[in-house]
Assembly symmetry: D2
Homo-oligomer: 137 residues x 4
């Protein structure tokens, strides 16, 4: 198992299951987003405050490899790392593990950037130290 | 613009927007799934009937490149192509375009397979002709 | 069957099903909201434009009687009527019917009002003619 | 504030917000359902196991009075009580409070029953002691 900069414990809610009795594929993006926002908040970066200031953190690409399903009642945790891949772009590397057997549920890479309300690149200053520390070495 | 084997017209519903006033990233996976299932149905393959027969069509990988957002009231369409990449795996190639300006909203590649209730590969016979026609040439 | 002022045709999407294989209870509120917003739009009232002008149409009460479930693939339609119950409050009366057998799926009463960004009552002028016509006789 | 038989702490996730910047009305039904299922689980009643045994706990009516909105980052808790209103029907009485000011967010009454896969009433035996204790006195 890898080292993670941030982890978050969560639990499946039954309304997240689909007719196959497993968490629907799209719901994992909800989990991953929630984890990213909690991580940012832990670093003093409030997604909703930025939005109200017309600084929009946006996702430009997502890749998810689904390995095993989550089912009703499953407890799981998400591990997160951050990597800067260009002056304006960063990648959240996230893995989900289920608790009952430690199995990897999925691995995801989410590329983000920040834009203003005219769609122009606009990295908020408070993101700089975070990204400096995440520079690909 | 590419040729597509199947297309579906849709419209954004307001509950799909998030606090940024755009369709939330995860919701696009809902759109893409709905389009895949409608395509399969048009080919005589009923996702829910398969599920009730313990044949599970599952997604093993998704890649989405987000290009432009959808907003409240936006009408859009999805184009779909299918490619077989191995005896047991196939890729749905899907693009979303918004109607008001024809702009590409996103491009997605979703890799799927089929398993039974023990998680073993299990391609339903009715998928064979579809995949034969989709063999990568 | 009652007369309705507005009707909307819809179709269940598979991601809206839960592990019981039926549309999850909460999803019907999505359907009902979408129908209300389409009705308002048909009357020249754009929910999202109002929101951007800091006029918030809000729900203060909902009552839903669930009569029969919707399943995967079901086509259905929603009938809507509007009633003004006080100077500032109005009720959307909505029924959902499934197409395959005409059966009533649910009946709902949703009470709404409009507030500004300080939470004060604020009926937008364009709502007045609509509500005048909907006065309880 | 009332006494509750069961309480659950939760936190708003940003994808649950809509374009008004508040939790969408339908999402509260997700919260309420999750709380009911956690309560049942605390009493040894597993919703998903019942579903797999073809015993379906279903909602026949919901009433929600919305009092104040939840916003991004809000922490809240749900209080739950249970009342049996007939041999086959029971009501979950639930209130949501936000933590930052203790304000009541909403009050809800959800009437449920249990049916088998032919839609016939079918109270699972393990529900009996729970409902006996919840008899309206």
């Amino acid at each position: 198992m890898r080292d993670y900069r941030f982890t978050l414990d969560m639990k499946v809610r039954d309304y997240e299951l689909d007719a196959q009795g497993v968490v629907n594929n799209a719901v994992y993006q909800n989990y991953l987003e929630h984890c990213r926002h909690e991580f940012l908040l832990s670093q003093g970066i409030d997604f909703n405050r930025l939005t109200s200031e017309k600084v929009f953190l946006v996702v430009v690409r997502v890749e998810i490899d689904y390995q095993a399903p989550l089912r009703g009642g499953d407890v799981f945790w998400i591990g997160l790392n951050l990597e800067r891949i260009s002056p304006l772009r960063f990648v959240f590397i996230q893995d989900i593990y289920r608790q009952r057997d430690g199995r990897l549920v999925l691995s995801a890479r989410t590329t983000g950037t920040a834009v203003n309300d005219r769609g122009r690149p606009c990295l908020p200053p408070e993101l700089e130290p975070l990204l400096a520390a995440a520079a690909k070495s």
